[in-house]
Symmetry: C2
Subunit: 249 residues, 2 copies
């Protein structure tokens, strides 16, 4: 199981779960494998109420945080991993097999980062918009004839793999990783600069915003890089006569 | 995932499951990870009927075999692995961590054996009697504060580990492994010989029968050894004037 110092830097995020039993099952798997931080994004209200009022509701569920968006739920994470099957999807970010995730998590923890593991709703999994927040997509190797896993079981399988194999890696010295919320701040300033430069009149379409978000995650920026690029774009914005993007910072 | 030739030599065995949803969940995990042979031991009749009549019941469930006892369900297996937590139990056979199971299974498959993975009922897990049929006990590493897993999740975690890591190991030449049913035949003849020798008057108590069963499994006999020892005990029986234990062979 993960040492205590790592557990506090690991979030399980359930996006729009529909079935209270699955929320309970996810919480139970977390307790089984020693994870404690659960966030639930935009749950259906009745589902959420029912899950938390179960007589056997675990502490992990009672202490769960609610978030309106995936972006809000993963704001503090420096590595966001989405889960899913690739059957119907062409991935837009790096794909790793679940068996490779422990090493990725160990390394991220070793450099002082925070990890979020994100699970989509039962029927359709994470949307492209949900996935635009993810640095990597974790693939659970399933049979092509029955690829789609039950949510509670998918959570159990992923957390088992991590509990069994994440090492208490020594602290790695190296550049400070950047939190998801900082990247989104940068994306906002870049967008303002693009608009100010006449790159695209009016608001960006949602698809382009997602592209930009993904691109910033594929670049694996450090906290320092992010500050530097933010500075450059704020300067550009200022020169374009738009002010430094106040109200976004 | 396991190659087809190995899947046919792998059984998942659920012992006295109580909850139809868990039976369905176990079947789904099997389909997800490409396993197809399910046996259910002494299910509660209503539970069993309900599980199989679910609208989304999978082929693996509709094709499941029913057995009266664990011994019957694992009769053809040369390696029987029980699952469970060790919190309340002192194990009477070799214990392996789940992460070690793939290697064990690969080796058994490589020498032409058949494997059965046995799961106990929801609340209390496998009994000592159930476990007496097992060569090894597989431990899923869980948090001591919440060690007990949901049945469907435990099945998913074990099958994931096997699907991800059982290798298509080349055929290992070596002695032929012995099937569980043959060992039980031997145990019966040994028991008769013991009684005939006046070792213990009357029928053996259940606890001693379990001890004998376990001992024979700890010895990791080959098919050849088993035939040889069976011959010796039949000869002893004959000399003790009891006949060759006909009706048991």
């Amino acid at each position: 199981l993960l040492p205590e110092t790592q557990r506090e830097r690991f979030d399980v995020v359930l996006v729009r779960p529909r079935n209270p039993l699955n929320i309970g099952a996810a919480a139970r798997a977390m307790a089984n494998f020693g994870f404690s931080r659960l966030s639930v994004v935009a749950p259906f209200e009745a589902t959420w109420r029912e899950a938390r009022s179960a007589v056997d509701a675990l502490d992990v569920l009672l202490n769960a945080r609610e978030a309106a968006t995936v972006g809000e739920a993963v704001k503090g994470a420096t590595l966001v991993a989405g889960t899913g099957s690739l059957t119907y999807r062409k991935p837009e970010q790096r794909v790793v097999r679940l068996a490779e995730l422990p090493e990725l998590v160990s390394r991220e923890m070793g450099r002082g980062g925070r990890v979020a593991l994100v699970f989509g709703p039962e029927k359709h999994g994470l949307t492209r918009d949900d996935l635009s927040w993810c640095h990597v997509l974790v693939e659970i190797p399933t049979d092509a004839r029955q690829p789609s896993m039950n949510l509670g079981q998918a959570v159990a399988v992923c957390l088992y793999e991590l509990a069994a194999r994440v090492g208490a890696a020594g602290v790695v010295s190296g550049p400070e990783p950047v939190e998801s919320g900082r990247l989104e701040l940068l994306a906002g300033v870049v967008e303002e600069a693009m608009e100010a430069a006449g790159y695209r009149a009016g608001a960006m379409r949602e698809g382009e915003r997602r592209e930009l978000r993904l691109m910033l995650r594929r670049m694996t920026l450090t906290a320092h890089d992010t500050r530097r690029i933010l500075g450059i774009f704020r300067r550009i914005l200022w020169r374009l006569g738009q002010g430094p993007g106040a109200g976004r910072g």
